[in-house]
Symmetry: C2
Subunit: 149 residues, 2 copies
């Protein structure tokens, strides 16, 4: 029973996942808050920026950059295709799905939300501090398996 208490208290007090998820929820809320006027979710902006900067890019390579499951991408990108922010490129190189690029509207949207993103980014910078920001970037860089492209 003493041992039981020990392990459960460890889970409660030390668990790094619990902490990371809290951080994730708070930060997501801040960005979503600033982006709301544009009817754009933070996750969608992240995807749009990757497609706009790197595209044309295949789903699989987006997944490697953002550590996202292909099935998640199929569905999240479908919304963005429907909204006309991105489009498939007919290159005919590989029959297993076409690469994606940002449409003109997509590029416009990115530029329009720029200041809102900046505001959220500044709020978060202030919240996590200089060390926090540096470390978050370093950690994420370690996680990503960058494709050649």
């Amino acid at each position: 029973m003493k041992q039981d208490k020990h392990i459960i208290d460890q889970m409660g007090c030390e668990c790094l996942l619990s902490r990371t998820r809290i951080l994730n929820r708070v930060l997501t809320g801040i960005y979503d808050d600033e982006l709301r006027p544009f009817r754009l979710k933070a996750t969608q902006l992240n995807l749009l920026v990757v497609v706009a900067r790197i595209g044309p890019i295949r789903r699989i390579d987006i997944g490697k950059r953002l550590h996202l499951d292909p099935s998640t991408l199929t569905r999240n990108l479908r919304v963005m295709l429907t909204n006309g922010w991105i489009e498939e490129v007919a290159d005919g190189e590989d029959g297993r799905g076409l690469p994606l690029q940002a449409t003109v509207q997509g590029h416009d949207l990115v530029n329009q939300v720029g200041p809102a993103w900046r505001k959220a980014q500044d709020r978060v910078q202030k919240l996590v501090g200089k060390d926090g920001a540096t470390l978050l970037r370093k950690l994420a860089a370690n996680m990503i398996e960058l494709p050649s492209g």
Copy 2:
């Protein structure tokens, strides 16, 4: 056009949310991986640990500790109630929903998964390093609005 490139590259290279979400996905995957044999998701374990340690506790206070929306808690806890890991406590003090506590099975489950959680925790510790772990804990602590209980 130069300016456009500037802001979109900032979003791609600096965005702290993108980094945090990647980190969140990688870490969640590691814990889920270790917990899979127990048919328990990492998010559920986080909730179960809070209820088992702090309970009886109301949904609203769980939400303050984990920065979770009440509606999210209603649904996530419903699964755990159905699974018999937690139960409502009839205290009659407040008609707006009953506090929750862990059942005997819930406590047993927590103890059973202890070693698996430890394994995931160690893997993540190694991944983020000592500084990473320290900072993640510090950041999360700043986010949480601890209720009196």
